[in-house]
Symmetry: C2
Subunit: 319 residues, 2 copies
């Protein structure tokens, strides 16, 4: 039996930066503290909590920074850039949650907050390697894009939002390399921040692991970790208030409570967009099929009620 009081919460980008908001340290902190309020409210109810998060805009910023001085300072590779964002965002979240625990005097039954550098294994044979889809870094002109594809062997693609950008593969996560340490700390009473940005992608190579230039979907990677930890609940907090059929259309319908078979049917019928709700729904489905008690998808600002099942979309095993 899984412990229903253990939970993995996957935070969307709005935990750090609201849409259209400048990415200043002040805004990052304010958003992190806002997310921390929700998380601590959940912790106060006795939940053991693991937190994961995205890193899109931050890894983009690091790639731009490195690119701007590439003549002077050798740029690092994408796996290293991902590791940097785990330090950056892990620090913001861990300090915000720690201080919020102190504020509400919850640090007596919680040991503290830990953020880990975390690698996630992907498969060399993943079909994603033949079809890179994730835009990363800045926009280039067509000429620059051509030059970069020649000099750096980058795959460049025209972004519908304008300009050319690098695309990298998004292979399916297979295993979280550090999940046993996370499990130990979780059992011991720590709040853990892990798998930031979907984890640093690594592949097996002979008798070793090796970082690769790819981006793992953060919700799919979160599911792998949630399943390895055998937590009871898997909660995806984002900037919409749940899963909809026909989202954005006049006949849009919110799903409040669905069984895994029901939503899997909608998923296979193409109801959810690949770049947004699709991977979230897929991650939620996988979690239930892998033995989870409940998956929830909802708005970060209403995160406490999403966890309680009062808000957002609740996905449960078949009756």
């Amino acid at each position: 039996m899984r412990d229903e009081k253990s939970i993995l919460i996957a935070l969307g980008g709005n935990a750090f930066q609201a849409k259209g908001e400048a990415g200043t340290p002040e805004n990052y902190w304010r958003n992190a503290y806002s997310a921390a309020e929700t998380i601590v409210k959940i912790i106060k109810e006795g939940y053991k909590v693991v937190i994961t998060h995205g890193n899109g805009p931050q890894v983009g910023a690091i790639l731009e920074w490195m690119d701007s001085l590439s003549d002077k300072i050798p740029p690092m590779t994408m796996d290293i850039a991902g590791a940097m964002t785990q330090g950056w965002l892990g620090y913001l979240l861990m300090q915000a949650i720690y201080n919020t625990l102190l504020k509400y005097d919850v640090l007596d039954h919680i040991k503290g907050v830990i953020a880990l550098v975390n690698q996630v294994l992907v498969d060399r044979d993943d079909p994603a390697w033949r079809n890179p889809t994730k835009y990363v870094g800045r926009y280039y002109s067509r000429e620059e894009a051509y030059r970069l594809s020649k000099t750096k062997n980058w795959v460049m693609k025209e972004d519908p939002r304008g300009g050319w950008r690098r695309v990298v593969p998004s292979p399916d996560p297979k295993r979280n390399i550090e999940s046993q340490a996370i499990k130990r700390l979780l059992e011991d009473g720590w709040i853990i921040i892990a798998s930031g940005g979907g984890g640093i992608p690594v592949v097996r190579e002979n008798k070793s692991i090796k970082g690769v230039e790819a981006v793992i979907d953060k919700d799919l990677a979160s599911e792998v970790l949630a399943t390895e930890l055998k937590v009871g609940k898997f909660v995806i907090l984002t900037d919409v208030d749940g899963v909809y059929l026909n989202y954005g259309k006049p006949n849009q319908t919110k799903l409040n409570r669905v069984t895994v078979s029901q939503i899997e049917k909608y998923y296979s019928e193409g109801y959810f967009k690949p770049g947004s709700m699709g991977p979230k729904v897929l991650a939620a489905i996988r979690f239930i099929k892998n033995g989870g008690v409940a998956s929830m998808i909802g708005h970060l600002d209403d995160g406490y009620n999403v966890v309680k099942g009062f808000s957002g979309t609740l996905i449960v095993p078949d009756d």
Copy 2:
């Protein structure tokens, strides 16, 4: 009684970048793998190992990157830049050590390798706040320096190496915020990378902690952690083969084995330079006075023999 088979190893900058060498990812990896060979040789003898490391050139690179695009992307503060280097360098070391453990089939009695984002408490009343001494980031002209001191409230100082640079305080580390989690993982059989770059400096503010723009000496921070973990041995690996009296002069004398009282006398007589061997010797002295069994200072390339006491300088309690 302290466990003599538990050890904290503080790595110098040469674990990532040799003097004069370009900071390319390839060089970083090669140096990290070289350090990993030494560390795994020590692990194979049954030692429980915690590793700390510096981050000077890397935090410098991040500050330069952020500075170069400050009109376009808001720069992060120094505590966040430090957190980024913990991700960056923690990742390099953890993967290099993990693969080296696999290479020598040592992963059967070791659980794995963990790198943590790690905060270190400093004191608001530290005299260092009134006298910033650590150069950080790039070199500016006198005019730029004047402007930055006005606009950003930075303390700017002429660097003897040429140009003006920002200086930040280097307060004394008091406590490692996450040491209890590190202790738990260490006892449980993990190799842990922590306190990178001296840790992210935080101060107490009312009922919370808060990041500050400062740089903690990495050897002094390593000692605080080593003492909190109650490891038996504290080893500082750097780019010189031990502690010398009159270093660089015709009458230089290497210290092979000294008691803490002997070296403390030399320290108080001003034998060791503040910017280089001084803090290492001070950290080694503190470790012994706080109950440690032995402190060692020696060359990274000969790290195994330094740990065994065959090379470098060995500092022991008074008889």
